[in-house]
């Protein structure tokens, strides 16, 4: 393991990081998402060494760095507001960290030019940072941190001050630079596009805790908390009650609908649980059909929403709204319209059960 954060607890008086665990392999790109105030910045600053944890350890390449000074860690940080040194021009800002390691002026110069060229800021090198646009400041800040070839590059919402188009363009540019420099990255973001376009790993944070960490596809398809599911965009989350169990299948009643969930859970009968189905796992059909798919429900289409290249279909099933996601051509073929009767099918393996106690504690505990 390249970076290992183990059971980290940080006490800031009113705010605590509690039992934070993170694992990162070399050259991984991790995006941490979570609501405002959840402690993402505090976590980054603790990894960088600016907050001392009360308990817990941080290991970098197996070495315990928990009590190492920030300057000895080789972990550099990019802030949301970029904090470019106002007493230096763009060149000097980028060169700053390099000057500590490299004494040869020519080497410094060529490396700064190379970095500036990659990030398309070479024409700005003798500008004063105050005169730069948001995107230019951001690239200068990233250049300044990346040029020292850090063990880990921490970025705290580096894109949040940029408009959508700039965001997309800079994402590509920065992704390329970071992968060329073979840098391990932790990136804090509010934006799911960052997760899709940049991350291999994602961690979801709330109230000073990491609720779930893992490969992006895993976390998005198997959220293990109600909050994670909600936050990462699982739209079909329902409260239900366990009504039976047999042969590895749990039966959950949601309103009057029976939803079947496969794989063993330690839930008991009568227990309240949350069940979740991802919209892309719902299959629409005009007729009922017999297959290995265990869940089939009949409902009425209540809404059809075009979102980008996809169509979201909302279906009311006995008072419960399910959302499914299909392509426009499927919409045409099936002739889906508002008020139309339709069948929904989804496999029982695609039904996720979220234990209510754990999800509620995740939602409300500090």
């Amino acid at each position: 393991m390249f970076l290992e954060v183990k059971n980290l607890c940080v006490d800031l008086g009113q705010f605590h990081l509690t039992g934070v665990n993170l694992n990162l392999e070399k050259n991984d790109y991790m995006v941490i998402i979570g609501p405002t105030g959840s402690g993402k910045s505090v976590l980054l600053e603790t990894i960088a060494g600016f907050f001392q944890p009360q308990t817990g350890k941080i290991f970098l390449e197996g070495e315990d760095i928990t009590n190492l000074n920030p300057e000895k860690r080789g972990i550099s940080i990019v802030y949301q507001d970029y904090v470019l040194f106002p007493n230096m021009n763009v060149f000097e800002n980028i060169a700053y960290g390099l000057e500590k390691k490299v004494k040869d002026r020519e080497v410094i110069k060529s490396r700064v030019y190379d970095m500036a060229d990659r990030l398309k800021i070479e024409h700005l090198l003798d500008r004063n940072p105050e005169t730069l646009s948001g995107g230019e400041k951001q690239r200068t800040a990233i250049a300044r941190s990346l040029i020292v070839e850090p063990n880990i590059l921490l970025m705290d919402e580096p894109f949040s001050a940029l408009d959508v188009n700039t965001h997309a363009y800079l994402t590509e540019l920065i992704k390329k630079a970071i992968s060329d420099y073979q840098t391990t990255c932790i990136h804090v973001s509010h934006n799911f596009n960052d997760v899709w376009s940049l991350a291999e790993q994602v961690a979801v944070m709330k109230n000073g805790k990491i609720l779930q960490q893992g490969i992006v596809a895993d976390v998005f398809s198997k959220p293990c908390h109600n909050f994670v599911a909600d936050f990462v965009g699982v739209h079909n989350i329902f409260e239900g009650e366990v009504v039976g169990k047999s042969k590895g299948i749990t039966d959950v009643k949601v309103n009057q609908n029976l939803i079947l969930h496969s794989s063993d859970t330690d839930t008991n009968d009568d227990k309240k649980v949350m069940v979740a189905v991802r919209p892309e796992n719902i299959i629409f059909s005009n007729q009922s059909f017999v297959s290995s798919i265990r869940n089939q429900l009949k409902g009425i289409v209540t809404d059809i929403i075009l979102i980008g290249p996809t169509v979201w279909v909302e279906v009311d099933v006995n008072g419960t709204t399910f959302k499914g996601i299909i392509t426009p051509s499927s919409l045409d073929i099936l002739g889906i319209k508002k008020e139309k009767e339709i069948y929904l099918s989804f496999k029982s393996v695609n039904v996720k059960i979220i234990d209510e106690e754990q999800s509620y504690s995740a939602l409300f505990s500090a």
Binding site: E45, G49, P70, I77, F85, P86, N87, G97, K100, P150
Partner: protein
């Protein structure tokens, strides 16, 4: 259309600054030019001017050396009794400097402490060293005040970034914090020197105000006025006013235009 409140407030500010200006200006009207030149080049005023400037520069230098780390730690670190330290530093600003003077006198005039210092070759009571010490403690709180708000304005993230790029605490202080705080450091130095130069009560008590030995400009005003040498008194006052003007001019010109690293 200006409101009544606006008009009355502006009038008040005009009236009272005019009176203040009149008061200061009246100094320059009173002596004849000849009287001024004679007084200026008299032994007493020349001595007092040199003594005031030299002690003030030394004291201000000492203040800055101590006030920078003090203000920095108040702005950045948490430590036990931090609020007590803050109040103790602020205290001398609230009570008359002459009280500070008598306190210094009591402490160093104390037979035990006095004799220990004496055996070390340090004499404080009625000496130039005493003047410097009195000026130091009078000016110190003002200096810490300004520097404290300056360091508070320097976003600690600048320091974090510098450290994350491989620079230690001291290098970061030298490369980032002090350059970003230079406006405030400069302002604080000017205010400190001005405060040292103007110190009267504490310097009189601790230094003794001996003619041609420990007589500073403010003391010269007081002595000469009580002896009836109006020209000397006014001249000393004019010198002090001119020094203040220079200080304020320099302050306006350089200090406030570049307080960097705010926010």
């Amino acid at each position: 259309m200006r409101s009544k409140l606006e008009i009355s407030f502006i009038s008040i500010s005009f009236i009272f600054t005019s009176i203040l200006f009149l008061i200061i200006g009246s100094l320059f009207v009173i002596p004849s030019f000849e009287g001024f030149v004679n007084a200026f080049f008299s032994d007493e005023i020349q001595f007092a001017l040199r003594l005031t400037l030299s002690t003030s520069i030394i004291a201000a230098f000492g203040v800055m050396i101590v006030a920078i780390p003090t203000a920095y730690s108040l702005a950045r670190y948490n430590f036990p009794f931090k609020s007590a330290v803050k109040s103790i530093i602020d205290l001398p600003m609230a009570f008359p400097e002459i009280v500070l003077g008598i306190a210094i006198l009591m402490l160093f005039g104390n037979p035990l402490i006095g004799s220990i210092l004496h055996s070390l070759g340090i004499n404080i009571v009625f000496t130039t060293t005493g003047i410097i010490i009195a000026q130091f403690f009078v000016a110190f709180p003002y200096s810490v005040r300004i520097l404290y708000s300056t360091f508070n304005y320097v976003n600690p993230r600048y320091e974090f970034v510098s450290r994350s790029l491989g620079y230690g605490e001291l290098e970061t202080l030298k490369n980032i914090t002090l350059p970003l705080a230079k406006g405030g450091i400069f302002a604080s130095s000017v205010v400190t020197i001005a405060r040292c130069i103007g110190t009267f009560g504490a310097v009189l008590l601790v230094g003794g105000g001996t003619y041609l030995k420990t007589e500073t400009l403010p003391i010269a005003i007081y002595y000469n006025l009580s002896l009836g040498s109006i020209d000397n008194a006014i001249t000393a006052a004019i010198i002090l006013v001119l020094i203040s003007f220079i200080a304020i001019f320099v302050l306006e010109k350089y200090a406030y235009q570049n307080i960097e690293g705010a926010g």
